[in-house]
Symmetry: C2
Subunit: 211 residues, 2 copies
């Protein structure tokens, strides 16, 4: 082997080492490490989300419910009032009692977790602006549904507000003060895989520039 | 240089080449191919979303606005009524007129796109259930904000409903029929990078099992 060939081999070595280093620097910080289990991107999750009403018996953990509620609290609120409170439920008896009395949330009897999203009237804006809590808590609820889909869980938004009887039922069973208004009850569990996302894209609902 | 040293250098070369190949195989299949531009996962995007009020002059394309509105229409609605309509605006004159008259949406004069999320009262449930459109359209709005963050855009939810004067302004400028109620106006553009996400996680807003 000539001296020239050895020099070329050495340069090739250096070139390869630098390439390797650059690749590690670029891709080594694996983004999925940051958020355990969440390997899918946002637009996909938005379109994959479906209302899940059929669940396997697999247990939902407290940490998972907390992940969903942290996502909820990342929603925007009018004048940053954060006029909300969240009840995370894993207690079998409470889930059963809610499922027994709520006509559109019977699946609570077969799921092992739920989240109730509430407005807190002590934290809202005043007068006519009070009702912004409904929009704020709805945005937070959507975050819960998307976060659930993202970590492999399924969920469904069952309404309480403004149905007086359902609000009364939830308030009684959860011991809510008068200032705390339940917007919905969201059963959360591992999906059986029955439900598929609906394609609700309708071009006629999109108007350009004006009506 | 001895023969041994040359052999070591050659082995090193082979080792480096194989490592490089493995790295390329592992990370080369970029998951962003599935959804153009969307490189981040859902929980990250939920927490990274911020209200963006400062934009660069870079043009937002019609296709991008359509991506956001497709995401909006993937939100759940009560009894699947989809009681909504979306106005996508790029017209300079319309954006300026809205920005001139809406006190909390002055940034419309400096952005080159916006989306108005509306309730369609012809498509709602009846009686007291009519107002579910507010929750449905709020969930859709949250999808718009998250989808914007996901594709590198910035947006901010500026309220119209239930502010009578702002609703009137939007309806007049966009020529909305009486049955179409503007919930908000969402300016959309490339963020200047001024705004950072707020950490709104407050453990005291999370209750376990009951109040």
């Amino acid at each position: 082997m000539t001296k020239k060939k050895i020099e070329i081999a050495q340069m090739l070595n250096i070139l390869l080492a630098v390439s390797l280093l650059l690749l590690i620097l670029k891709f080594g910080k694996n983004p999925t490490n940051k958020m355990e289990q969440d390997t899918t991107n946002t637009l996909e999750i938005i379109h994959q989300r479906k209302s899940v009403r059929n669940f396997t018996p697999q247990e939902v953990k407290k940490e998972q419910l907390q992940t969903l509620i942290k996502a909820a609290m990342a929603a925007p609120t009018a004048v940053n009032k954060q006029p909300w409170a969240f009840i995370a439920i894993k207690d079998r008896d409470i889930l059963d009692r809610l499922g027994e009395k709520l006509p559109y949330a019977k699946m609570l009897k077969k799921v092992n977790a739920a989240i109730v999203v509430c407005g807190d009237l002590n934290k809202t804006l005043e007068d006519w602006e009070q009702e912004f809590w409904i929009q704020d808590c709805s945005a937070a609820s959507q975050n819960i549904l998307l976060a659930a889909e993202a970590i492999g869980l399924g969920a469904v938004w069952t309404a309480a507000y403004p149905a007086k009887d359902r609000m009364q039922t939830v308030s009684e069973i959860l011991g809510l003060p008068e200032s705390i208004i339940p917007l919905n009850v969201i059963p959360v569990g591992y999906p059986k895989g029955v439900e598929k996302p609906k394609d609700k894209w309708k071009p006629e609902n999109l108007h350009w520039e004006q009506w």
